[in-house]
């Protein structure tokens, strides 16, 4: 099943690159028509017509073919001659026989315009006139032109290629993990810190406090946190140390109940499970923080573990825990809260370490696959960055420019 997918993705990669290369040829500019210049003397008459008009497909092989780029030469009376050009009218038509409608009024001195939102691939006839406020010059026309309809955004080829490489890595590693291969993930130091903290709480005969953040149940940090909670619950169950889990979301509370109950059952201590210790406190951020702080002061846990999605309440929790003298271990991918955890806790799992810890503990194939895939993609990234920087320094820009997406 997965192999079919990989083949499909690889084939898609090859096909799209070929297609992209084929479509990416630039449209040739349309040859302009010479229009005889009429020298017109004074202000009762129209200004001289502008010079040659060129129309071509907008030089971007990535658009839908709905843009035409137009260039013209200034009328001899624009900024010189009788100096009376107020601007230009650009006309557009679907047939050669009529001038069609004015699509733009352009100020004097301008020689360039991109006409947009056209029907992709349709043929258009353009003409331009100069006007002085009352009189309009003769029209200058050019050959019909059509936008080129593109099938692939060539500037996004590098994105597609790197995406497919990465997806391939993720799927291969997921497959390997499903097959039961040993995929090495280094042990995250934070896990040792968690175990030490729980150990110390046991020695002191005081409870362990585990806060799974205030994220909803669909937040991936909350999900990672529940995996770690299961690990912690197994240790506390073995040591028969009370485990208090305050939650800010009703759904997270029921999930935490399940997780802890199952962990206690797995290590053969189902009777030690105390449902009263899994608590729903409040949905409101500060009310929740206040209530957790209350638990810290009253029940004096010796180890405080904060794992999951935290916002501004991180500070309140870590401060009170520090004051109470508990060992504190935190883990979150909320970057703006990490500084507070780092300075107020004994150990902090930062960013991806939280997910890595949960993959390490659960050995779930989809998590491991993602983790290993990301890992090797990082190696690819570093190699590309170093190579690109060196080549760029030496002046070889072709390679680097392939990664330019706009």
């Amino acid at each position: 099943m997965k192999r079919t997918w990989l083949t499909f993705l690889a084939a898609a990669a090859v096909a799209t690159s070929l297609l992209g290369a084929a479509v990416a040829q630039e449209a040739a500019p349309v040859v302009e028509e010479e229009v005889p210049r009429e020298d017109v003397p004074l202000d009762t008459v129209a200004p001289a017509a502008p010079g040659a008009l060129t129309a071509r497909d907008y030089l971007d092989s990535n658009d839908a073919g709905d843009k035409i780029e137009l260039d013209w030469e200034l009328s001899p009376d624009d900024g010189a001659g009788s100096c009376d050009v107020a601007g230009y009218f650009l006309w557009r038509s679907r047939s050669a026989s009529s001038p069609g409608e004015i699509v733009a009024e352009l100020p004097s001195g301008q020689t360039h315009y991109v006409d947009r939102n056209l029907e992709p691939g349709a043929e258009y006839f353009y003409s331009i006139t100069a006007f002085d406020g009352t009189n309009e010059s003769a029209a200058v026309t050019c050959a019909p032109v059509a936008g080129r309809v593109n099938l692939f955004q060539t500037s996004r080829a590098s994105i597609l290629a790197l995406m497919l490489v990465f997806f391939g890595l993720v799927l291969v590693f997921t497959k390997l993990a499903e097959r039961g291969d040993e995929l090495f993930v280094r042990r995250i130091p934070g896990l040792n810190a968690i175990e030490e903290a729980v150990g110390r709480a046991t020695e002191m005969g005081r409870p362990v406090l585990y806060v799974p953040g205030i994220g909803e149940i669909d937040n991936i940090m909350t999900i990672a946190s529940l995996t770690i909670l299961s690990h912690v619950a197994k240790i506390t169950a073995r040591y028969e140390t009370p485990l208090i889990v305050p939650t800010a979301r009703a759904v997270v509370m029921s999930a935490a109940e399940e997780v802890v109950k199952q962990a206690y059952t797995e290590v053969g201590q189902p009777d030690a499970y105390n449902p009263d210790n899994i608590r729903y406190l409040s949905d409101a951020q500060f009310a929740f923080a206040g209530a957790v702080n209350g638990i810290m002061l009253r029940e004096k846990p010796a180890a405080n573990l904060y794992m999951g999605a935290f916002w501004a309440e991180s500070l309140l929790l870590a401060e009170t825990g520090f004051e109470a003298g508990a060992i504190q271990v935190a883990g979150t991918a909320m970057v703006s809260q990490l500084p507070f955890f780092v300075t107020a806790c004994d150990f902090t799992l930062m960013g991806e370490e939280l997910y890595a810890a949960s993959a390490y503990l659960s050995r779930e194939p989809k998590l491991l696959g993602g983790l290993k895939g990301s890992d090797w993609m990082k190696v690819v990234t570093i190699a590309l960055v170093v190579l690109g920087a060196v080549l760029n320094f030496m002046g070889f820009e072709t390679f680097v420019n392939w990664f330019r997406t706009q």
Partner: protein, 275 residues
């Protein structure tokens, strides 16, 4: 823990009172400290200065009342800048609380500069959907926002006749307090539709966006109240942000002192405990 008088045991309410004094005192008796301008703010200002008069720019309001003190001065100053340079402004919001907040800045400034609703500016209001809304705007702004904040259909608004999608927008100023915000605008609009994008964010978000500044994905960045104050300085129109800078300075100094004192007390106590 040691017995007797302990520096670490002071009631936090004493700290609260000190903070309050540090904020209120410079507000009542301003110190008028000097103001420098950082490069990301200067770049933003220069970019807007170079936009030809008459162009259409967009103000994306993605914030709510909680971050108003930081972001409202940015909204104010950007609108003043745009109106001063005769730019026409389209306002679009992904956060429900933004339209009335932007409106509060928009209406007095429009009066001051004699700008007409629907001709020189339009407030398209709020649209649910976040990132998906941004993509919808990339295809068609009028289809994504079929009516403005007050319910007028876009086809009856003269300014909107010139706006189809981001090709018609010379510059987007994103005032951002979180998600959806600057990151989503960079990902879905700047990257995909190549619009010049500037961002005014809360201080909490600002450090995250420096990679976008270095890469040029953002032409400039206003970070927090200081960023707003610098922008006000460049526009020579000091407002609430500039007036808040003295208090900001004093409180920062106070917090630095707290960190140092706290650590000194901590290590002194630890040394005593070890001996």
């Amino acid at each position: 823990m040691s017995e007797g008088f302990d520096l670490r045991r002071i009631d936090r309410r004493i700290i609260f009172v000190l903070v309050l004094v540090a904020v209120v005192w410079p507000l009542i008796a301003p110190l008028r400290l000097p103001m420098d301008v950082s490069p990301p703010v200067q770049n933003l200002y220069n970019t807007i200065e170079e936009i030809p008069a008459g162009s259409i720019v967009m103000l994306a309001g993605d914030y709510s009342p909680d971050t108003m003190p930081e972001l409202q001065p940015m909204t104010d100053t950007f609108l003043r800048h745009a109106f001063r340079n005769d730019l026409r402004v389209v306002v679009a919001c992904l956060w429900p609380a933004s339209p009335p907040l932007v409106e509060r800045a928009l209406l007095p400034l429009a009066d001051e500069f004699g700008k007409v609703d629907g001709v020189d500016y339009v407030n398209l209001g709020y649209m649910a959907g976040g990132t998906v809304t941004l993509l919808g705007m990339g295809a068609s702004i009028p289809n994504t926002f079929p009516s403005d904040y007050s319910g007028t259909p876009v086809r009856e608004i003269p300014l909107m006749q010139e706006v189809q999608n981001f090709d018609d927008i010379a510059f987007v100023m994103e005032i951002s307090a979180g998600t959806p915000g600057t990151r989503e605008w960079v990902q879905q609009v700047q990257s995909r539709f190549r619009v010049a994008l500037g961002s005014g964010t809360t201080a909490v978000g600002a450090p995250n966006f420096y990679p976008y500044v270095q890469s040029g994905q953002l032409v400039g960045l206003l970070g927090g109240l200081k960023g707003a104050a610098e922008y006000e300085t460049l526009l020579e129109y000091p407002g609430l942000a500039t007036k808040g800078m003295d208090a900001q300075s004093v409180v920062h100094a106070l917090i630095v002192v707290f960190i140092i004192l706290g650590n000194v007390a901590y290590f002194a106590a630890r040394r005593k405990g070890r001996a």
